[in-house]
């Protein structure tokens, strides 16, 4: 099958009808989260769902159109990030091809995944912000010694998240966490350039804290994203995992 044919195959009539439904879910749940004032967005559930059910290209289109349509109607701030949503959809599709939404992981493994991931994430964020402040890439062991308590607390939180939140969806959760980090990296430049790193929401306090310690705008913006995005995408992937476990077989044959 040629390249264009394999793209077209993802867009059956069922997929075409699914996409507006998925975008509507993204927008409605995203709006709901804004009202609930929680520090996560959850505006990608539909995107991840389409990626999982129809493939990466369909997922990417769903993500991009979500931000564009949402941006042109209820929530203009979303518009510049259409490419981030596209990447999320594509990564969900790739994760689905790797079987992530069908595999069940034992809870201890999910706990380990959570613990290791958040430990590594903290290391990554602190490296970036320290580099921004001091201009040198810091040594990992120095950082761990310097911020020791923070690392321990976050690792424990990570273990708890893996065990109690992810439970048997460890692989899906990991895929979500990785997607979240990628999303944070690629959205930071736009957030910094277009919005100066600020959204008018509560998460700006995180940005303020980093800025106060002398970190640059781009690094602060990235830090804020890296704190919210992985958890947000992890929950989205988890919800889609739950959905796919609950769907009868005939819905999954595309």
């Amino acid at each position: 099958m040629s390249f264009t044919e394999s793209i077209k195959k993802e867009f059956s009539t069922r997929t075409l009808v699914l996409i507006p439904v998925a975008i509507a879910i993204n927008i409605v749940v995203g709006q709901l989260l804004i009202i609930l004032k929680l520090p996560i967005y959850l505006d990608s559930i539909g995107t991840v769902l389409v990626g999982a059910l129809a493939g990466p290209w369909a997922g990417a289109l769903t993500g991009a159109l979500t931000n564009i349509i949402w941006g042109l109607t209820l929530y203009p701030q979303a518009m510049p990030f259409f490419y981030v949503a596209a990447v999320i959809g594509a990564m969900a599709g790739i994760a689905a091809k790797l079987g992530v939404f069908e595999r069940i992981s034992p809870r201890w493994l999910s706990a380990l995944i959570g613990g290791f991931f958040f430990f590594g994430l903290t290391l990554f964020i602190l490296s970036v912000t320290t580099y921004s402040r001091e201009g040198l890439i810091p040594n990992a062991t120095d950082l761990i010694r310097q911020y020791g308590v923070v690392f321990i607390i976050i690792a424990i939180i990570g273990l708890a998240i893996g065990y109690f939140v992810l439970q048997k969806a460890g692989y899906a959760g990991l895929a979500g966490l990785i997607t979240g980090v990628v999303a944070a990296i690629i959205s930071a430049p736009t957030a910094a350039v277009v919005y100066g790193g600020v959204t008018g929401a509560g998460t700006d306090l995180v940005v303020a804290a980093f800025r106060a310690s002398g970190t640059g705008i781009l690094a602060s913006t990235f830090a804020q994203g890296a704190v919210s995005d992985p958890f947000d995408k992890m929950v989205s992937f988890l919800i889609v995992w739950l959905i796919l476990q609950a769907l009868p077989a005939r819905f999954k044959s595309r």
Partner: protein, 283 residues
């Protein structure tokens, strides 16, 4: 002239092993009003899909036997060829609204836009379809603002505008209130009276008794009875399977057991027959 010819049709959906339709054969002549009855899971919807080509083209699966509709073998043509000849409407009125159009007029024109009908013809055909379904005053309304019965008539108009040869209707009134049901059935009856071939899956046996030319009863994917309403709706086979009997029939059967209905008299399926039978026959 035979417009539908189903020959030994056996069909199984892709994710199961149990056949949804088993060795089904039937013929429909042009202009006939054929009713299909059966319990849930009997294969009525599958048969509707087979007559309109969605089985096998949309659902894939394994199909054996042959379905010929309007001169085409459904397995040898594409779904696009078939939708122009066979119009399909089903239960949920809301799901039949495309969502891509803002007014009823545009919604009805959707099928004509997709098939490349020139603009001048479109307006005339849409107006005719709206008149046939009695929804002219709704032309400028949003399809989403309508009642279930109105939406179902929009769905019918959207199909009639494409001038099909056969109408296949899968329980079009099941989700409607009595008013909506009556409005929709009125349209169906008028289409049938004007010569359209109509296949109707229905539970409201009283209607079928009154208006259908022939009835086909399905059970577990097989045809268990076929014939005129009077024949099928009073048959013992149906009673065994526990469906298809109208109130009039069941009342008369009880009466028969108690000697209040003449044995030689055929069981009634309509109000009129029941009234006649009860007023004349005294055992």
């Amino acid at each position: 002239m035979v417009v539908i010819d189903v020959h030994e049709l056996t069909y199984t959906y892709p994710t199961t092993n149990v056949a949804a339709l088993n060795d089904v054969s039937l013929q429909v002549t042009e202009g006939e009003f054929l009713a299909i009855i059966g319990n849930n899971g009997a294969g009525k919807s599958t048969l509707c899909y087979a007559l309109s080509g969605f089985v096998p083209h949309f659902f894939k699966g394994t199909m054996r036997g042959r379905v010929q509709v309007a001169g085409m073998d459904t397995q040898n043509v594409t779904l696009n060829d078939l939708v122009l000849k066979v119009g399909l409407a089903f239960q949920n009125p809301f799901n039949q609204i495309s969502g891509a159009k803002y007014t009823v007029f545009e919604e009805v024109a959707f099928g004509l836009e997709n098939t490349g009908v020139p603009r001048e013809q479109m307006v005339e055909r849409v107006e005719r379809a709206l008149r046939l379904t009695g929804i002219d005053e709704l032309a400028e309304r949003s399809p989403y603002s309508l009642s279930g019965g109105q939406q179902q008539r929009v769905a019918l108009a959207s199909i009639l505008v494409m001038e099909p040869q056969v109408l296949v209707l899968d329980e079009p009134t099941s989700q409607l209130d009595p008013v909506g049901s009556r409005e929709v059935f009125q349209v169906i009856k008028e289409m049938s009276d004007s010569g359209m071939t109509v296949i109707l899956v229905e539970h409201k046996v009283e209607w079928i008794a009154e208006f259908a030319d022939r009835v086909v009863a399905l059970h577990d994917g097989r045809i268990i009875a076929q014939g005129t309403p009077a024949e099928v709706l009073t048959s013992a086979t149906l009673a065994e399977h526990g469906f298809g009997l109208s109130r009039y029939t069941t009342t008369a059967r009880e009466a028969l057991k108690r000697g209040l209905w003449l044995v030689e008299r055929r069981l009634p399926t309509t109000l009129q027959e029941a009234a006649d039978g009860f007023s004349r026959g005294k055992a």
